[in-house]
């Protein structure tokens, strides 16, 4: 039996998804279901001075209109906390509809409930809200003079300044070469295909079931329970299928609890589906930000100093910045380093995770600057990176748990055909198209939950097994990959194993965020299955009726559901034979993985990769088209070649979008985004997708987790935008230090 792990197994839920049998949170039909529509504040800042609901109340089908005047108060003030911790995971430290103050446009000010969605939508337009508006800040520039240095960011988990190494200012003064570059980033939104949706149903007055589109069922459970003042045992969360998330559903936003409050008020189940435009102001975003990089280097290209400072627009309630400095700080062996965050308070919802959170922007800045250094020194960009390769973690001096970056560079360069590149910018033409190539390093921290991760494995008497853990499937392929992990752990073929997730009734797993989902879940699943297998083997060797009686358990292996002696495979029996003979209907085991925390480890843990891009720029019209992308990554063990490849490709194409298209545009006069729809917020379409080549280098890693899984969710996007921007420079000779790069930059 060849191992299931690594195989390109088709998605186990593929058929259910394409036939429509898969049920998403907005497709749960319950008797008496009613529909909620949120009314959002029209202004970014001020007070509500009047709400007239009379017309809405009498509209056909309307069941209730709730405002801050009559909505129940929540039992606790939410506190922003990243869901990886496995605890409550509120998206922001503010809950709306508790008073008359408006902090950001789109903040919920009323909930309309009706018997159909259309009637609720209509009645929502009839709610008349009057405001007393006060001045607002919605752009970074408008509040720049009031920027401050937060003590901590990211829910208090990350210090406002990174540890400093050496004396970077002195090193900059002494450096032969200096670069001082500033990069600007547009607001980005996650735009999952399925807008966030919650269906809430109360059993009796204090037991709640929440069908939620979430990256972490337990995160929803704990967060909602806290706000409702209920013990977690009273809140059950079901989340079988989620139509993408990309960070939008990583934390728990107010609409989830609002749905529960509304359902309790009207005594009927409530479905609350955010509309596409509401998705732009209800679940956070990648914040507007600016990053400054200063590099000191010798003429030989070796870094002597690196500083990296970032300023972000955050909300009035939270010190949030995506953590953009982490990978850039350790990507190269610079002997000196300093970096820190500054924030500006604005009238916006608290920003949040967006794919490749932090590093997708931080590595754009660093890798664009490295390309500038390559041109300054006349050193090939790839050679420059090799010269600065960090053999150990430059911050702590610890060895890497695994790295593989040099292999990624080498293989990427081969696949791309990098070696005969002419460095001169603006010289290659194909008709009216200017052709250029660029590369960048990809890096992403290996994150792990801080709580124990659990899974349960049960084998039935016939030798088939069900393995459970409370994860949701939001498109990553987790159900499929975990089936493979379970099959190998138990020594069963994949069709004899069913992996089940999707509810809080199952063993607890933290939300799958920060590329940590497959590492955390696979560890718990693997441990549960190995535990169960060992239990069965021990049973067999102790059983006088077993051919394995008396064998040393360490010499027994399992293949295809049959336990046998490693040295004489003809001696053995199947799980089924063992269980049947002993009249055992089933056997169960729980697997618990206690994650390794970076601080407590002797190793530094990071994922690396190399990105290459070829672009064509229309010399007259400025249009940029990406012709080729090559990405080679070292994500530790790959659980499923096909789904991993899809994840990486999705990330790279998103990087293309980040580089050339994606921008949510704030109108400072209205304090609202002016393009809250998918016709004006541009993401790449199929016709924009170039030829994408992806390979993975499997680096063994015995530190990060039992299977050595570093994750593929985020690394694919990191570095793509820099490789593209560097290629644009190579094509045109123009440096664009702003994302997205659009044709007006190149006219």
């Amino acid at each position: 039996m060849s191992p299931a792990i690594g195989a390109a197994l088709d998605r186990v839920d593929g058929r259910a998804k394409v036939t429509g049998a898969a049920r998403y949170s907005g497709e749960i039909s319950l008797p008496n279901l009613s529909h909620a529509v949120l009314v959002g504040a029209r202004i970014p800042s001020g007070r509500i001075i009047g709400i007239d609901c009379r017309e809405a109340m009498v509209a056909d089908g309307v069941l209730a209109v709730l405002t801050h005047l009559d909505l129940d108060r929540v039992a606790a003030t939410p506190k922003l906390f990243p869901s990886l911790a496995g605890l409550t995971a509120h998206g922001q430290s503010f809950f709306p509809m508790q008073d008359d103050v408006v902090h950001y446009a789109g903040q919920p000010v009323a909930i309309v409930l009706a018997d159909t969605l259309e009637r609720a939508e209509h009645a929502a337009t009839l709610v008349q809200v009057t405001y007393a508006e006060t001045p607002s800040v919605t752009l970074l520039d408008a509040g720049r003079d009031r920027a401050y240095e937060p003590e901590k960011i990211f829910g208090g988990l990350v210090p406002g300044r990174n540890p400093t190494r050496g004396d970077p200012e002195a090193a900059l003064r002494d450096a032969e070469l200096n670069l001082d570059l500033t990069y600007r980033f547009a607001v980005n939104h996650q735009n999952p295909l399925e807008p966030s949706t919650t269906t809430a149903a109360w059993d009796d007055n204090d037991r709640l079931t929440v069908y939620d589109s979430t990256q972490g069922p337990t995160a929803t459970q704990l967060s909602v329970a806290e706000l409702l003042g209920l013990p977690p045992i009273n809140v059950r969360v079901v989340s079988h299928y989620v139509g993408g998330s990309f960070g939008a559903k990583a934390l728990i936003w107010p609409h989830v609890t609002l749905a529960a409050l509304a359902a309790r008020r009207i005594g009927r189940p409530v479905r609350l589906a955010l509309s596409r435009d509401q998705m732009f102001h209800s679940c956070g975003h990648r914040e507007e930000q600016e990053q400054r990089i200063r590099i000191g280097a010798g003429r030989d290209g070796r870094l002597t100093a690196l500083t990296h400072d970032k300023i972000s627009l955050t909300s009035h309630f939270d010190d949030w910045a995506e953590t953009s400095l982490e990978s850039a700080a350790i990507a190269y062996a610079s002997p000196t380093y300093a970096g820190g965050y500054r924030l500006v308070r604005g009238n916006i919802i608290t920003p949040t995770f967006t794919r490749g959170p932090g590093e997708a922007t931080g590595m754009f800045a660093l890798e664009s600057a490295m390309d500038e250094l390559a041109y300054l020194t006349g050193i090939d960009p790839l050679e420059l990176r090799l010269r600065n390769h960090a053999d150990n973690d430059p911050d702590t001096g610890k060895p890497w748990s695994s790295k593989g970056l040099k292999e990624c560079y080498q293989r990427g360069a081969e696949l791309f055909g990098w070696s005969d590149r002419d460095p001169e910018p603006g010289t290659r033409r194909d008709g009216q198209w200017l052709i250029g190539t660029g590369m960048a390093t990809a890096a992403y921290p290996v994150a792990a939950p801080i709580s124990p991760q659990r899974a349960r494995a049960r084998m039935y008497g016939d030798g088939s097994a069900v393995v459970e853990a409370g994860i949701s499937e939001f498109g990553t392929g987790a159900l499929t990959a975990m089936t493979q992990v379970a099959a190998d752990g138990l020594g069963l073929p994949v069709h004899r194993v069913r992996f089940v997730g999707g509810t809080t009734d199952l063993p607890n797993i933290a939300a799958a965020v920060g590329s940590a989902g497959s590492g955390a879940t696979s560890s718990a699943v693997h441990l549960a299955c190995v535990q169960l297998r060992d239990q069965l083997i021990r049973h067999a060797v102790a059983d006088q009726g077993s051919p394995l009686h008396g064998a040393d358990p360490d010499t027994v292996v399992v293949r295809d559901g049959r336990m046998c002696r490693r040295d004489s495979p003809e001696v053995g029996e199947t799980y089924h034979e063992l269980l049947d003979r002993n009249h055992m209907p089933d056997v169960e085991a729980l697997g618990t993985w206690m994650p390794v925390l970076p601080m407590g480890s002797d190793h530094a843990m990071h994922t690396f990769g190399a990105q290459f891009a070829e672009v064509a720029v229309d010399a007259d019209l400025g249009r940029i088209r990406v012709r080729r992308l090559v990405g080679v990554f070292a994500p530790g063990r790959v659980l499923n070649r096909k789904t991993a490849h899809s994840q990486l490709m999705g990330g790279m194409l998103w990087g293309l979008g980040q580089a050339l298209l994606e921008a949510t545009r704030m109108d400072p006069h209205t304090g609202r985004y002016a393009n809250e729809n998918l016709a004006d917020y541009l993401v790449p379409v199929n016709a924009d997708a170039p030829d994408v080549t992806i390979e993975t280098i499997e680096v063994p890693d015995s530190v990060v987790n039992p299977l050595g899984v570093k994750g593929v969710g985020e690394i694919g996007i990191v570095g793509t935008s820099a490789a593209i921007a560097n290629a644009v420079h190579h094509a045109t000779g123009r440096r664009i230090r702003e994302l997205p790069i659009t044709l007006e930059h190149l006219l």
């Binding site: 007259d620 990406v626 012709r627 006069h669 379409v685 016709a687 044709l743």
Partner: protein, 358 residues
């Protein structure tokens, strides 16, 4: 969505009568604009009169080389029709470069001519907008106006007219045939689109209840080698940042006759008459093309984010003229919008990314 009554009519007279009788009513064709705007409460029609059963779908060749396109012919059908592909490739290309295949299968030509602007403030019911609600102001003037117009604007409205095929019709001097409570009319396409002036809410000279029944394109022999160039941020499913429909007739390197209209940059599909007069009789050289482009854009006004469109429009004009005159320095097969032999789509995905799509 607002409560709305819906009826389906089978003949033109009933259609006109029903809509004319009720000021709160509107025709419903493919619904890709109307239903959209209903759902976001910008269109506030109380009654939708479905005209899809009216016999207005034919695409007919007219004696002499013109065509007549029924108002309910679908964008995809018009794009594929042989007479259109042979005689007026720019129409076919303009259609295929617009929207998406699904939308083109639903959307009608009449509806396309009547589609509303894509200005974000027009579509955001709570923002001041003179077009949606006269005399409330124009949020776009100092707002997010990257997609807005640089020609034909007024201080009251700067919204770009979004239609692609309208640009081709403008270049070809098409005529819009209507039938309304007041009888039948033939409206020259240039008169069918109004610039905003101080009445941005008025986009067409049509009476309420007046139905577009067909578009006639007069014979234009030089249009058989015409083209439509559309410049935008992504390869598909996006309105134009700038576009040009062009047909040309050359004699010994001199321009005998030319038709040029621009899209994506003006408040109506924009006939480039100044450029045409510079071009006519001049040698077909890049210098001529540049002076023509400059003449046409001389009065253009930017409003900040869209300033770049003035230069982009100039370059789009020059590029389209180079393409239609077969400039050998342009990369073969990358000439945007040129149809492949079977007319099934742009020759190579309209650019270096070798993708599919519209």
């Amino acid at each position: 969505m607002r409560p709305v009554s819906y009826s389906r009519v089978a003949d033109v007279a009933t259609a006109i009568g029903t809509v004319a009788a009720d000021p709160g009513s509107a025709f419903l064709a493919g619904g890709t604009t109307e239903v959209d705007l209903q759902r976001i409460h910008v269109s506030r029609s109380r009654r939708l009169v479905d005209i899809n059963d009216l016999p207005l779908r034919q695409i007919e060749e007219l004696p002499g080389g013109g065509v007549r396109i029924g108002a309910l012919a679908r964008m995809s059908d018009v794009a594929q029709a042989l007479p259109i592909r042979r005689r007026f490739p720019m129409i076919s290309q303009a259609l295929l470069l617009g929207a998406s295949p699904q939308l083109r299968n639903m959307a009608s030509i009449g509806g396309n001519l009547m589609q509303r602007v894509r200005c974000g403030y027009f579509r955001d019911v709570v923002a001041p907008c003179n077009k949606r609600e006269p005399r409330t102001g124009c949020s776009a003037l100092h707002g997010v106006n990257r997609g807005h117009a640089v020609l034909g604007t007024s201080e009251h409205c700067i919204a770009t007219h979004p239609s692609d095929v309208g640009v081709a019709f403008m270049a070809l001097d098409a005529v819009v045939l209507t039938q309304g409570p007041g009888g039948q009319r033939q409206i020259a396409i240039d008169d069918f689109y109004l610039v905003p002036g101080d009445r941005p809410d008025r986009e067409h000279p049509l009476a309420h209840g007046e139905l577009v029944v067909a578009i006639e394109v007069p014979p234009t022999p030089m249009a058989s080698t015409s083209l439509y160039l559309k410049v935008r941020d992504r390869e598909s499913y996006e309105f134009a940042l700038a576009s040009a429909a062009v047909a040309i007739s050359l004699h010994d390197g001199t321009i005998d006759d030319v038709r040029l209209a621009l899209g994506g940059i003006a408040t109506k599909p924009w006939r480039a008459r100044r450029a045409e007069s510079v071009l006519t009789g001049a040698p077909a050289t890049p210098e001529t093309f540049t002076s023509a482009a400059e003449a046409e854009l001389a009065d253009a006004i930017g409003h900040g984010m869209n300033d770049f469109k003035i230069e982009l429009a100039r370059r789009t004009v020059v590029r389209a003229l180079r393409m239609v005159t077969g400039d050998p320095q342009l990369h073969d097969g990358m000439a945007e919008g040129l149809l492949s032999e079977d007319g099934s789509g742009p020759a190579d995905g309209s650019g270096p990314a070798d993708g599919s799509g519209s």
